[in-house]
Symmetry: C2
């Protein structure tokens, strides 16, 4: 089990700042957007050919609350937005619920209560809840699971319901969602009179597990398991429903002639039964949600075969299909995984939501089995792609997280139009911003995994925590400026015999030390965790020191786009070069193999970062501008001082070039 949000107060540091920003700025801003009252939320149309994949139709605004009001009969009007527009509100509600756990706020709670009333009114007599179908196609409920996100939206609202119930004890939304879950349960299942389907976009599986854990209703777990088991069986359910609805397609404007359905079984992970899948295929976010639900079901039903599948999928991803920034998805087309080692830095998708999904997946894996590698991956996704998804001021968001950007090419080459050089304020398809919010507001859940009398520390965050062990509740304080220093001090405030398991990240596995009360201790590292078990006294301290030397990172040679290139990492942070610090022509920069990397603390820059300074070379522009190809190379290199900044902080100083991977000079 993870520690509860209200038991862990993140006190300061980078994550403290980001959490505060989301709670105080981003959530109110997003509420305004959901209500169409945000003034500065005009989408950025600087790139004209903005990919349709982002759904950035001109038809801003959000209209999300308005849809609920129309469905509730409070207002007249038509549905507007994506077919999954409801989920924007659900994610926001869930994020607010987490915020209320750590920072109760009467005014905000009142807003939620009013919104729950609205949701209740939008619910149909039989429990059905989905504003799109209620307003637009009431006769077509559950006829297009492949494309229409009904179960997905239901899942998100279930997550919100459970979170709000846990935050406040109020069960109105939970009851609303129990009625919807019951309706879904009446409609789907192995029985002959039910539909033998599963969601096109996974999400409800993990949500039903949360509903089960909140209500103890076994049917919900059983239904989650059913969706996991049914997926990919032949004949394909999506073929059957496609025939039944006479080939009607919701997304045919995006993917003619048959909409999403035409992307093929891999897109929605129904190409094979889940247990036969060996690699994540198709839409990356869906993969993460599917796998998260699968781990939950495997853990609760003690299904070792399913767990093994999850391990296989995880390993294929982190060993072959993940960017160094923790981004996943190598193409904007269907936002999907492609093939092993195909990781183009300029064409990458690397959706923020997908990396948030990786955190969901790895958190669940850590609950199932305590392996440091899972937390390494979680941390990679969190500190790099996830944090890069939001600007430092919390007012703009990336959907796509590239590792190489040239603003001119993004403007002039439509293949790169999805690679924005600055964060837009909002998206027509607004999945990422509220997803980021609910992850950040629940960050406390990711820090500790509790297993009987063991405390596994997955992430090092300055916090004050109350941990409920099997037979004891203890208090623990973490003091650190991580990820900007490698020193982490734990102040133990409760005496007793229990085990503290500190993650030794792979990047620090060759160099780390632990001192207890000032004395160095030798400890065994097992599956990436150093285990400290003893009878602790109040006031004991543990000092963990990790390797905070900046490091060069190289990709597996099979990653063809990274051959001959080097990236820089320090602690969990991947670094990048930006034009504003290093001038134009980042793709002409060479970093010598032996050039010293110097860390400098810059509290004044980008809200406080560690910069890395080093010396490199830049292949000079030619004096003769008429030469495009030549054999007599008088190409010259000029020495340049290079300044690296953490990847998450890029694109906060205007439109400019950026790169993570740099040529290495032997």
């Amino acid at each position: 089990m993870h520690a509860a949000i209200n038991d862990v107060k993140i006190t300061s540091g980078l994550l403290g700042r980001v959490s505060k920003l989301v709670k105080e700025q981003v959530l109110p801003y997003q509420w305004d957007i959901l209500n169409d009252v945000a003034k500065d939320a005009v989408p950025d149309h600087s790139i004209e050919n903005f990919s349709v994949a982002e759904g950035n139709d001109e038809g801003y605004p959000s209209h999300c609350i308005a849809n609920f009001k129309i469905a509730a009969g409070r207002e007249k009007g038509d549905f507007y937005g994506m077919v999954f527009q409801d989920s924007d509100l659900a994610k926001w509600l869930e994020a607010v619920a987490y915020r209320l756990m750590s920072d109760p706020d009467e005014e905000l709670e009142k807003i939620v209560d009013d919104t729950v009333d609205l949701i209740g009114e939008a619910q149909q007599e039989d429990g059905y809840l989905n504003t799109y179908f209620t307003i637009k196609e009431p006769e077509n409920r559950f006829t297009n699971l492949c494309e229409c996100h009904e179960l997905y939206c239901a899942g998100h609202m279930m997550e919100a319901a459970v979170a709000y119930y846990r935050a406040t004890g109020k069960d109105k939304l939970l009851k609303i969602m129990c009625r919807m879950a019951d309706l879904i349960d009446q409609n789907f299942g192995p029985e002959e009179n039910k539909r033998h389907g599963y969601p096109g976009h996974e999400e409800i599986e993990l949500a039903l597990v949360k509903m089960y854990e909140a209500t103890n209703e076994e049917r919900y777990l059983k239904l989650a398991k059913y969706f996991i088991d049914e997926r990919g069986k032949k004949p394909y359910y999506f073929d059957i429903e496609f025939e039944k609805r006479n080939h009607a397609s919701h997304f045919s404007y995006l993917y003619p002639p048959y909409g999403m359905y035409s992307n093929g079984p891999k897109y929605e992970q129904y190409h094979l039964p889940i247990r036969e899948q060996k690699s994540f295929e198709g839409h990356a976010v869906r993969c993460m949600y599917m796998a998260s639900g699968a781990v939950d079901v495997a853990r609760l039903t003690k299904d070792e075969g399913l767990m093994d599948t999850c391990r296989t999928l995880y390993q294929n991803m982190v060993q072959r299909r993940m960017y160094v920034t923790g981004g996943i998805g190598s193409t904007p087309k269907a936002e999907m995984f492609t093939s092993d080692y195909d990781l183009p830095n300029d064409m990458v998708y690397g959706e923020t939501c997908a990396s948030v999904g990786m955190m969901f997946f790895t958190k669940r894996l850590l609950e199932a089995e305590q392996k440091g590698d899972y937390a390494d991956t979680m941390e990679r996704a969190l500190y790099n792609t996830c944090l890069a998804g939001m600007s430092l001021d919390g007012k703009s968001f990336f959907y796509v997280n590239p590792l190489e950007v040239d603003p001119i090419i993004s403007k002039e080459n439509p293949d790169r139009a999805h690679v924005l050089p600055v964060r837009p304020a909002w998206f027509g398809c607004a999945c990422c911003p509220p997803n980021l919010s609910r992850m950040i507001t629940s960050l406390a859940e990711y820090i500790y995994t509790i297993k009987e009398n063991q405390i596994y520390v997955n992430l090092y965050v300055p916090d004050q925590a109350i941990i409920h062990l099997e037979n004891k509740t203890i208090e623990l304080e973490t003091v650190t400026d991580y990820p900007y220093e490698g020193l982490i001090k734990f102040n133990l405030k409760t005496a007793g015999e229990y085990e503290i398991c500190l993650r030794i990240p792979a990047w620090s596995s060759n160099k780390w030390s632990i001192m207890v009360n000032g004395e160095k201790v030798q400890t065994e590292v097992k599956d990436g965790f150093a285990h400290l078990k003893r009878a602790w006294n109040t006031g004991d301290t543990i000092l963990l020191e990790l390797d905070f030397e900046p490091k060069r990172v190289y990709a597996n040679p099979k990653v063809s786009k990274d051959v001959g290139k080097v990236a820089i990492q320090c602690g969990p942070l991947v670094y990048c070069l930006e034009e504003v610090d290093n001038g134009k022509g980042l793709q002409r920069i060479y970093l010598p193999k032996d050039s010293e990397l110097q860390l400098e603390r810059r509290t004044d820059k980008l809200l406080g970062i560690n910069e890395i300074h080093t010396k490199g070379y830049r292949l000079k522009e030619l004096e003769d501008e008429t030469v495009l190809y030549a054999s007599d190379t008088n190409w010259e290199y000029e020495p340049v001082d290079l300044t690296y900044i953490p990847y998450y902080a890029w694109a906060n100083r205007g439109e400019n070039e950026m790169t993570v991977w740099v040529h290495e000079k032997a």
Copy 2:
């Protein structure tokens, strides 16, 4: 003026073989396809996500002749194919006409005559000729110039008409096309009662110039000039016609909501008046056709301003926007130019037609002014991208000509789906194969430019030529195995005072020699040509020796995708590595700066090539397959023997990896 096709017999060598192949195999094969009787012309669907940009809809076959029969009232049925399907026949007829110039053939001529009869029957009372509009939308003639290729198809048929008239003296098709040209002239022009439009796809401009040269009808030249001058004036004609037809779009299935029109003014080069354009923008083929027509008009009207525009556009292209293979177009989206130095090797379009168009453009530039650089570019396009457009057996064709291919990525990554690893047999949008045919059958026109008493030799081809100088006709024989050797021998068969100007290619500018009758001569090189002027005797010989050492080629450092990489060229041929010769993992290969490049003649391989052998290294695969990123690099290099083949010969031995650019090891 260029030498005429019937005056130049290409006797042997690479181009001789290709010419023979096109005449004897490809033209009959294409005739079968136009008539829907080809048996092995089933399109290759091995790549499922084959880009719609290629128009490879499932609806093969061609139906081209059938469309004419239906329009002529000979058969019942509906139009099928692209809106520009007529041009496939036109290009084929033009190619056949060129073939008949060098190799008369009664049977083939009969086929053409019959086809001309058919075309005549398909022509409408008032001279209108276009099977799409005649069959499908007779009421909508000339209402959608932006998208519907009416003037383009007319232009191609005019080229065929002129070619057939020149080949046989028969003027029936010429008269048909005069009537169509007259109709167009009645409909378009500066007068108030005419439409102030211009074609969406340029072509008719250069065709009208050919019509003018064949008929001396000044109106045709005037109309060509009108189309050139009108293009890009504001308010945009395409906006006006778009409003007039109530926003109807022909290609909305490809580019919703407004079809090609929505690609914006640059796509069809109407963003600015041509004279104000400084770089080629938009669809690469259109750019080449536009510029070809502009050079013609500039030459005939002595319009130095327009000629200057053509020079500027040419220079921008060859100095910033052209692949080393002579390919142009950096993206499959709209098959277009993007921005300076944006030349991705894997995402490239490099359409065969665009490089054929470069040959049209450079041939015209050479007729306007004799600068070797134009011929260098022509030769680069011809021997690399154009020849690569067709398989060695003449049975399959590339539309897209990549510089880097990984078949697995082409299959699994939809961004790369346009990059086919093997040539398909035919395309739904079949512009490239017949375009290649007409260029190859008219190759003789590209070899010599004649200017008063000067013979400019642009290309070195084994041939026997009759050259009509201002006051004299001379005979000339060229003996060479170029491009597989650098020795070119000219046997002069006619005495007299005239000037022979031999191109010294840029790649040979530092090392070349000329001997006349066995004695070395010193000659001036002016604008890339060595001038030999004297009173020649019958039996004189000139021996030109060019630099045939294989050479390393480097790109301008601003071409970010080629930084740190090297290509190999020998003579005009760019070389590449293929997996079948070099094993998997071509992107892990390093070529040392000083590794010797050894040329080997291989008459037995790929119908006869020069291979290049050298020694390099390959970054080895890791033994530990679980590593994706690591700091402790035990990355190893293994020595490998490398075998390069000419780029044009790639993809003739099954599906495999290929690359032109290779990492350089310092």
